[in-house]
């Protein structure tokens, strides 16, 4: 497919540009690693004072966090849309994108991807592996397949929400702070949701369904049946939210008038 060929070309270009400034590359890598380590330190320190967090043991919580890192890493690698407003709207780069034959979102994604964040998949797997080592898990042959499906569903949830938020810029070129707000809500999804109040659980499930990125699928993989239905819904929710994101993007592109510069 021509899209994948393009992705590969963009990737090669990206790596060339990135490796020109090797120190940047390395420091970015260590910063990512450190933020993951700091979150892990938090969990470890917390479990110095309690045996259970809302009924979940130390290694179960570590497992949930490790699992969360994987969809998160895939999402941040390919949907690096934080600077969209500045780069594409205010500086008018979107006009260039729109003159080309590939779908505008695909182009934007390829131009702003940060594949080095995929390292998070490795760190997440290591964290999960460490937790699994201490947990008596019994996985069926199809669980790894479900795992992949869950990860893709989680990525789609994040991608859908952020594409929708990004397309707000297509309607108004003023900066909005909604992205950092939603980002902070996202961090709620990497802990067991049963520790939150009912309203927050509802929001994390149906409004901004970040619980599907971390907690629900991870709880299923941990062999806890309480949220099994939700876990199985992960790909559905992912598809729904990604479609919503895509829809609002396409509508936004139709509506886009340029910043006038």
């Amino acid at each position: 497919m021509v899209q994948f060929q393009l992705l590969w070309e963009y990737f090669k270009q990206y790596m060339k540009a990135r490796l020109e400034y090797r120190w940047d590359f390395i420091s970015q890598f260590f910063t990512d690693l450190m933020s993951q380590a700091i979150n892990l330190v938090f969990i470890l320190v917390v479990f110095g004072h309690t045996q259970h967090l809302g009924g979940w043991s130390r290694y179960e919580v570590i497992f949930i966090y490790g699992y969360f890192l994987i969809p998160w890493a895939v999402f941040t690698s390919f949907f690096n849309l934080w600077g969209f407003n500045d780069k594409y709207i205010i500086r008018g780069e979107l006009d260039r994108v729109l003159t080309r034959p590939v779908h505008s979102l695909v182009q934007v994604i390829m131009e702003s991807m940060a594949p080095e964040s995929l390292m998070g998949v490795l760190t997440g797997s290591i964290v999960m592996g460490w937790a699994v080592w201490h947990l008596p898990l019994d996985w069926a042959w199809y669980d790894p397949l479900l795992f992949i499906m869950f990860v893709l569903g989680g990525v789609a949830v994040y991608a859908g929400i952020y594409v929708a938020l990004t397309s707000i810029s297509l309607y108004s070129d003023s900066k909005s702070d909604i992205q950092p707000i939603v980002y902070n809500i996202g961090t709620y999804g990497r802990y067991p949701v049963n520790i939150y109040s009912k309203i927050i659980q509802f929001v994390l499930t149906w409004i901004l369904p970040f619980a599907f990125v971390g907690f629900y699928p991870a709880s299923y993989l941990l062999g806890n049946g309480d949220w099994k239905v939700y876990a199985m819904l992960t790909p559905v929710i992912g598809a729904v939210f990604f479609s919503l994101g895509l829809y609002s993007w396409n509508r936004g592109i139709e509506n886009y008038k340029g910043a006038g510069s």
């Binding site: 400034y21 120190w23 940047d24 420091s27 970015q28 260590f30 910063t31 450190m34 933020s35 700091i38 330190v41 938090f42 320190v45 917390v46 110095g48 004072h49 309690t50 259970h52 967090l53 809302g54 702070d177 909604i178 950092p180 707000i181 902070n184 809500i185 961090t187 709620y188 802990y191 067991p192 520790i195 939150y196 109040s197 927050i200």
Partner: protein, 264 residues
């Protein structure tokens, strides 16, 4: 001299006032963070009355106070300095008749006061409506807290300046700035009070300046410190304020003579 710096504070305050709408979302973000930690710690307490000398109520108050204090002491001076070094505008700053670093300090202070009044205070009010926290009534304790918080601000900005001027030597230090921010949040006791770390880690953290930014001021108000406990805390903060001047002065002197304006 003092009038000039007072003017700098005033101007920065007014500048921030012009963009005050930007801060409503900030209050929401901080409240979300307070919420996340509130639920986590409530689950950790799970009925236990008191852990490491903190009751559940004190813990909730600690979270709210320490985040809202962060709104006051937090600034991007490290980034500003690093950017000005990188794009070379720092050279212009050198020929102006003021102390570049002092200007940065006073600008941030103006910013801090702005956020204290228009962010922390309403934010605290909002948070106290949502979460059960307990603040002391009107009294001397608030003055003690103000002193401790101010010293925390000074130490934080000293660390920011220190990291910022390292850009003289490491030209692209964006990663370093990010890392510093996360380290300060963790080691200052913002996310976990120092008393909750394992004993060996507490020894290390108490020997570092970071606890003086957030942990000590928050403990002053949450535990209503008085007498020698209070003066001990403030004494540690004052000591760091003085000690941190030394590396800043050393690096600054060296840096000014090795300044390379890239592409000037």
């Amino acid at each position: 001299m003092i009038r000039m710096y007072a003017e700098i504070i005033r101007i920065r305050f007014l500048m921030m006032l012009a963009y005050r709408v930007n801060y409503y979302s900030g209050i929401l973000i901080y409240s979300l963070n307070i919420g996340a930690y509130y639920f986590l710690w409530t689950a950790i307490y799970g009925g236990q009355g008191s852990i490491n000398g903190f009751t559940a109520l004190q813990m909730a108050t600690y979270i709210a106070i320490s985040w809202m204090s962060r709104a006051f002491y937090f600034n991007n001076v490290d980034r500003e300095i690093a950017t000005e070094i990188r794009d070379g505008t720092v050279a212009i700053q050198f020929i102006r008749p003021y102390n570049y670093l002092m200007v940065k300090v006073f600008q941030s202070f103006g910013e801090g006061i702005f956020r204290l009044v228009l962010f922390s205070v309403p934010g605290m009010f909002l948070v106290s409506l949502i979460f059960p926290i307990q603040l002391p009534g009107f009294g001397w304790i608030w003055l003690k807290f103000a002193l401790s918080l101010f010293l925390g601000f000074v130490i934080n900005i000293q660390i920011n300046i220190l990291v910022g001027i390292l850009a003289f030597f490491v030209l692209n230090n964006q990663g370093m700035l990010w890392a510093k921010r996360m380290i300060v949040d963790l080691l200052s006791g913002l996310t976990i009070p120092i008393a909750f770390f394992p004993i060996w880690a507490q020894w290390v953290l108490k020997a570092l300046p970071f606890q003086a930014i957030s942990y000590l001021p928050s403990v002053v108000i949450v535990k209503d410190l008085s007498g020698s406990a209070f003066w001990g805390a403030v004494g540690i903060q004052a000591m760091w304020c003085v000690l941190l001047l030394i590396p800043i002065q050393m690096i600054w002197n060296k840096a000014r003579h090795t300044l390379v304006v890239q592409g000037g």
